[in-house]
């Protein structure tokens, strides 16, 4: 059984090489075709991004506008083992400074594990993570957050018993300094920073039109609002890269459509990169500029939405082998 799997792995990776070989030609063709191509029903509903993706030296692609700048994130040969299990292996990815990137793959492929590696919830067994050119080796989760990676969680993790505003204020923790003594003894510094906390928190909540809910208890918010609050809280940390773990999970189509607009708007307003894990293909194909597909802990394909949709390995990973 295990030998079979390994066999397929090898076959897959060889095929991946082929894809890479013909990549340049394909992407040029796809880029040209996309502007005028006949629209599929899903694309008609939501016009996909028309960003031209260009290859960079590390076998990855980034949006053309980011090509001459430092990538915000670069993973080299990243991997982690749990006991004998290689949960993630040889994970190479580069994300442009203002790219919306997608990480997709079947359940259990290791997508959330990648997020946990990027945020150092798990210490990587192998490989390097460069955030804006800086190696994050030796950093722990809080340090990575301060360095500029913010995230949301698949199973929502809010500060349930605190108010919506306090949740955002906690996100702002490292943005506004104020020592323990200032707070404990109510020194002037405390009042100045509290004002700043309040103003900034409301400003951020306003991005999602949630300023009216500032005093509500976070745990009592409806599901969709909790997901939005998690994003606001992540944005409060002033990130360079925002990781969204299944942001559309449990949302209906109209909420998802709104979320897509919001993600693009966040990218444009805050001028940051977004990497998202999502099973909703309308969302992924609708807003992601570059997509990486993960299966059994390995990247089996990278490319633009159009390329990924037509990639035989991806189809096989999702649907199984066609006999």
């Amino acid at each position: 059984m295990s030998r079979d799997v390994k066999g397929t792995y090898r076959a897959q990776s060889r095929r991946e090489e082929d894809v890479k070989g013909t990549y340049k030609a394909q992407s040029a063709a796809a880029g040209a075709a996309r502007d005028t191509s006949a629209e599929t029903p899903s694309a008609r509903k939501r016009r996909g991004p028309t960003t031209r993706m260009v290859p960079v030296p590390s076998q990855s692609i980034v949006p053309e506008r980011d090509a001459d700048k430092n990538p915000i994130l670069e993973c080299r040969h990243l991997g982690i083992d749990f006991g004998g299990l290689r949960a993630v292996d040889d994970f190479n990815l580069m994300i442009g400074r203002t790219e919306i990137a997608g990480l997709i793959g079947p359940n259990g492929a290791g997508k959330t594990t990648v997020f946990n590696l990027l945020t150092k919830v798990y210490a990587p067994t192998r490989g390097t993570i460069l955030l804006d050119g800086v190696d994050t080796a030796g950093m722990d989760t809080p340090k990575v957050s301060q360095a500029g990676i913010a995230r949301t969680f698949q199973n929502i993790r809010l500060f349930d018993s605190l108010s919506v505003e306090d949740n955002v204020r906690i996100g702002l923790h490292n943005q506004i300094p104020c020592g323990m003594w200032s707070g404990m003894l109510r020194l002037p510094r405390h009042w100045v920073s509290e004002k700043e906390f309040h103003d900034k928190a409301l400003e951020l909540l306003d991005v999602f039109g949630m300023a009216g809910n500032a005093d509500d208890i976070a745990g009592s918010l409806p599901y969709g609002a909790q997901r939005r609050l998690e994003i606001v809280r992540a944005l409060a940390t002033d990130p360079k890269l925002l990781l969204l773990d299944e942001p559309a999970a449990g949302m209906n189509p109209s909420e998802t459509a709104e979320l897509m607009d919001n993600i693009v708007r966040i990218r444009d307003t805050f001028d940051i990169a977004v990497l998202l894990i999502e099973h909703d293909m309308d969302l992924v194909m609708g807003i992601c500029e570059g997509i990486a597909v993960l299966n059994f802990g390995k990247i089996i394909a990278k490319g633009t939405p159009a390329e990924i949709q037509s990639n035989p390995q991806v189809i096989e990973a999702y649907l199984g082998k066609q006999e």
């Binding site: 945020t119 919830v121 722990d140 989760t141 809080p142 340090k143 957050s145 301060q146 913010a150 995230r151 969680f153 993790r157 809010l158 500060f159 349930d160 018993s161 605190l162 306090d166 204020r169 906690i170 996100g171 923790h173 490292n174 506004i176 104020c178 020592g179 323990m180 200032s182 707070g183 404990m184 003894l185 109510r186 405390h190 920073s193 509290e194 906390f197 005093d215 809280r233 992540a234 409060a236 940390t237």
Partner: protein, 365 residues
């Protein structure tokens, strides 16, 4: 009143807490001055203030930081014994009683805070049950060490020993701490007014801390440690802050408590005392500072007033602990209580409606 409504909920709640403490103090002080309360109750006033401070400070760890500490009495004892030593050494330097008490409380607080830091650094690597059992262990260790502590001072200064009184090598002077017999010959410096001031101070520190950037970080760690880390909060640091501040405040209360008696033994600060303080916190509602204060008062006075329950007192505490936990944490019981409340409310509404009908219809406001 209108102005009070404009404040945010937290500030309003804090003001009510301060107000309640001040009113209680004024009432009890006037009653005591008018000799309207029995001497046994009057004798409880200082211990009650100390217990209130302990309940507030433990609430910072259990309610706000969300970790169970079972060694709070240990920090109390560090403050108590340091305070006694300091006060007796300063007997000549500071003749004014209240000033000496103040200094001894401050030093007691600092030493207890230091003990809290030394204990906290290793303990904060642990969570949940492990943390609870290790704080319990530390409480026992502190008690054991104090049981072996001998201290005295003479012309040449302070002498400390861990073996016996002879080993102090005293040249005349006075023995302050005498091993298992504890602190002896304490000058009674504590009084109700100083206790009241300490309660206000403790409240000030804890309430301010909770409603500040630091306090929010502590509560964030309590609510969701992983999420707190993900937004860049150093969880160990903030749990440690709560733990150390709590220990320091407990030390101050210990210094106040000890100097209300002429002698005090280390055994007084054992696991049972830690549990007693925990009962205050749990009964008052974890994280609810005002509730903790009320619980500390009621549970100290009630057994005194209900002498006949005598031996049943501790049994009562046990049942209270279990009942509060079941009521606040079991969904079935909670929904039953909610049902009951709803039914009572409806009945109340019906009666109100009847009353209104009797008066001849509803009048628009």
């Amino acid at each position: 009143m209108g102005k009070l409504k404009n404040l945010n909920a937290a500030t309003r709640s804090n003001l009510i807490t301060y107000g309640m403490v001040i009113v209680l103090f004024v009432v009890m002080q006037s009653l005591a001055a008018a000799k309207a309360i029995s001497s046994s109750t009057a004798g409880l006033l200082v211990p009650i203030t100390a217990y209130i401070c302990l309940a507030i400070s433990l609430n910072l760890v259990v309610g706000i930081s969300g970790e169970l500490s079972l060694g709070h009495a240990g920090f109390m004892s560090v403050g108590a014994f340091t305070g006694v030593i300091v006060a007796s050494m300063l007997a000549e330097a500071i003749p004014v009683g209240w000033a000496r008490l103040l200094v001894s409380m401050l030093v007691g607080g600092v030493f207890a805070g230091l003990a809290g830091f030394l204990v906290g650094v290793p303990v904060m690597r642990l969570h949940g049950d492990y943390l609870a059992i290790v704080t319990l262990a530390f409480g026992e260790i502190i008690k054991n060490l104090l049981n072996n502590l001998y201290a005295g001072f003479d012309g040449s200064g302070l002498h400390l020993s861990m073996t016996n009184a002879q080993a102090l090598g005293m040249d005349g002077g006075k023995i302050v701490i005498n091993g298992p017999q504890g602190a002896v010959g304490i000058t009674k410096l504590s009084n109700f007014a100083m206790g009241f001031l300490l309660v206000l101070f403790t409240l000030f520190v804890v309430l301010n801390l909770v409603n500040s950037r630091t306090g929010r970080a502590i509560m964030a760690v309590r609510d969701n440690r992983i999420a707190a880390e993900s937004v860049g909060i150093n969880t160990t640091k903030y749990r440690l802050i709560a733990f150390v501040v709590s220990a320091a405040l407990a030390g101050m209360a210990g210094a106040l408590y000890a100097q209300n008696f002429s002698s005090i033994v280390p055994k007084k600060f054992d696991f049972n005392t830690s549990i007693l303080i925990l009962v205050f916190v749990v009964l008052g509602g974890m994280g609810n500072i005002r509730g903790g204060i009320i619980a500390a008062i009621v549970l100290t006075i009630l057994p005194e007033k209900l002498r006949f329950i005598g031996d049943f007192r501790m049994l009562m505490y046990a049942i209270v602990l279990i009942a509060v936990m079941l009521v606040t944490n079991n969904r079935t019981i909670q929904s039953k209580i909610a049902d009951l409340r709803e039914r009572l409310r409806r009945r109340g509404d019906d009666q109100a409606a009847l009353a209104v009908d009797a008066e001849g219809g509803v009048v628009d406001e």
